[in-house]
């Protein structure tokens, strides 16, 4: 009988970019900024992360349709990286998938990251 994810998953740390127009930054710059802060907050090392989920929606203009850009931007070799998309719940989807993978006992530590770069649309 299913019993949900209550008491099975915890948030170790969080990071968030500075808000603004951010003309100087690509999506991967923003991802790196949030990631570095999250890593420090969690007080863990990058190599402890066993899987990553990226939520990004407006794929044509920044990140693209794959999860690869997250792995490339943050340098996460040899771990599974997955991209999710669900309109405004896109990053929530990434977060939920990350929670489920930990709750299922597949991984101990997982990254969920949502990113959107909206200022290059003219």
């Amino acid at each position: 009988m299913a019993d949900g994810i209550k008491d099975k998953v915890a948030i170790l740390g969080m990071g968030c970019t500075r808000f603004g127009e951010r003309w100087e930054s690509y999506a991967d710059d923003l991802a790196a900024e949030a990631f570095v802060e999250g890593l420090e907050d969690a007080a863990i090392e990058k190599k402890e992360i066993q899987a990553a989920y990226i939520g990004t929606h407006i794929d044509e203009i920044n990140v693209g349709k794959a999860a690869v850009p997250l792995g490339v931007a943050l340098k996460l070799p040899y771990i599974p990286v997955t991209r999710t998309e669900n309109y405004c719940a896109t990053a929530t989807e990434a977060f939920r998938a990350a929670c489920y993978s930990v709750a299922a006992g597949v991984y101990d530590i997982v990254l969920a990251l949502g990113v959107e770069k909206l200022k290059d649309t003219g």
Binding site: W23, E24, S25, Y26, D28, D29, A32, V36, K46, I61, A73, L74, K75, P77, K119, D120, T121, G122
Partner: protein, 485 residues
């Protein structure tokens, strides 16, 4: 002492035999057989006046400190942009400083020498030093016109300064006439010209002597003091007549490369100048005369420093590095004269994101990557997190130039599905000497010539043309290095 410090040249790889043009279009203009001699240089599908100017410019600045340049002057009548500084694109592609002066010179075909004169004035007055002057042209004649036969694509560049010059600038003389032998309006694609006899008899026969005699009188010098006289005139009979009239000895008459390259507009007199400098010796006096809406005549004297420049490629290396374009219709499609169908994928709308291009302008236009200050790994595109797994430093990068690096082909493929005006689209991974690896298009080559491990150099090319918005977008491609014999 202002003068020329260095030179460079570029002739695109493909040459179209003029008889091929005549075989295709001679039925419409049989008299064009008179022009059907030799071959004309044709820009590849991904080349235009900007990319050729960059190639010549890179050749000219090779080995020089990029931070020493203070200006870039670009001359052409076939610039891709009417608004957006073309010289600004050239300067960024050359990898030069942001804080420099840049200007486009256009209009009459003498714009090439006018740009050179402006640079010489700047250096002479000590207001500017190390100025890149580049002229490049990609003019179109209508199919079956004489211009189609006569014109060729080429570029030349010189660095102007006031120290260690290889050719000292001694003086100049200019004439300006609103003589509309050739003209193009704001929205005209093809060159138009008035009658040849009028251009010859009232144009070349009068203005060239006016400019040359004006200079000779001004500086009390004789024509036979010049080791080389460079002047732009593609009419063979008019050239012979002018040589006789002005007393230009056959050995002083610098070849105009009409049967090897073709008439290259604003670049013509500079192409001939660069070609002459390759052979010049200390003490030689050189006279350069342009033609188009008047003439500029420039007088140089070659110095001992010329010996230090003997290994430059210039124009002559480009003349040897050639491949036959054995297909006239391919030329028509490349120049967008004949609308070829590149398939459904070519119709996909790709926006130019100006704010994104601005953000990555150094990478896109200059091929600047990054080098990690912690571990020294070069990386391209520039990274925020170091690509070296052992390092992983964050935000510790400094600029690192890739455009001047030699690479080797790590992988390649030919793609018949990708939209291309020269299928198959050839692309793959390039591994740079010293570090760094990225995917690039390969150009100026055929698929069957490529092999992994083959050395390549980087070449600034037109990456796409957005017909809907009239945008030429640029990036770097890899060109296999061929042995030039």
């Amino acid at each position: 002492m202002a003068g020329i410090c260095s030179y460079g040249g570029y002739v695109p790889r493909y040459r179209l035999n003029r008889m091929l043009v005549y075989q295709a279009m001679g039925w419409m203009n049989p008299a064009n057989i008179a022009n059907a001699k030799g071959e004309k240089a044709v820009a590849n599908f991904d080349e235009d006046s900007i990319t050729m100017a960059v190639a010549a410019g890179l050749n000219a600045i090779e080995g020089m400190d990029r931070s020493s340049f203070q200006a870039v002057y670009f001359a052409s009548t076939t610039m891709p942009y009417r608004e957006r500084l073309n010289a600004g694109i050239v300067s960024a592609a050359l990898g030069l400083n942001d804080h420099i002066r840049t200007a486009d010179f256009s209009g009459g075909l003498k714009a090439g020498t006018t740009a050179l004169l402006s640079a010489l004035d700047g250096a002479g007055s000590k207001n500017l030093n190390n100025i890149v002057v580049t002229a490049s042209e990609c003019r179109l004649g209508k199919p079956s016109s004489s211009q189609e036969m006569i014109f060729g694509d080429a570029a030349a560049a010189v660095v102007v300064g006031d120290e260690n010059v290889i050719a000292e600038f001694k003086g100049s003389y200019s004439v300006t006439y609103d003589f509309a032998d050739h003209f193009r309006g704001q929205s005209t694609k093809f060159d138009r010209q008035w009658e040849d006899r009028w251009i010859r008899d009232l144009g070349f026969d009068q203005f060239i002597p006016e400019a040359i005699n004006g200079l000779l009188n001004k500086y009390s010098i004789k024509i036979d003091n010049f080791a080389k006289v460079i002047y732009d005139c593609h009419y063979v009979a008019a050239r012979n007549k002018l040589n006789k009239l002005l007393g230009i000895a056959p050995e002083a008459d610098q070849p105009n490369l009409q049967t090897e390259v073709g008439q290259s507009g604003t670049a013509q007199s500079l192409v001939m100048l660069v070609n002459a400098l390759e052979e010049a010796r200390a003490g030689d006096k050189i006279l350069v005369v342009s033609f188009g809406s008047g003439c500029d005549a420039l007088y140089f004297e070659v110095t001992e420093n010329i010996e230090k420049q003997k290994n430059r490629n210039g124009i002559s290396a480009s003349l040897t590095d050639k491949a036959e374009l054995d297909n006239y219709t391919k030329y028509l499609v490349w120049r967008n004269i004949l609308p070829g169908d590149a398939g459904l994928r070519s119709e996909e709308d790709t926006w130019t994101r100006w704010s994104a291009l601005w953000r990555s302008r150094k990478m896109v236009l200059g091929l600047w990557g990054a080098k990690c200050k912690k571990c020294g790994s070069p990386q391209i595109p520039p990274q925020h997190v170091c690509v070296n797994a052992e390092c992983g430093a964050v935000g510790e990068m400094e600029d690192y130039l890739f455009s001047d690096k030699i690479g080797h082909i790590a992988s390649f493929t030919g793609d018949m599905l990708a939209a291309s005006l020269n299928p198959p689209a050839i692309y793959g991974q390039v591994e740079f000497d010293g570090g760094g690896k990225m995917m690039f298009d390969f150009t100026d080559c055929n698929l069957d010539e490529l092999a992994t491990g083959m050395p390549v150099c980087m070449s600034f090319r037109r990456k796409y043309y957005d017909e809907k918005r009239d945008i030429s977008g640029y990036f770097w491609k890899a060109v296999p290095i061929k042995e030039v014999k």
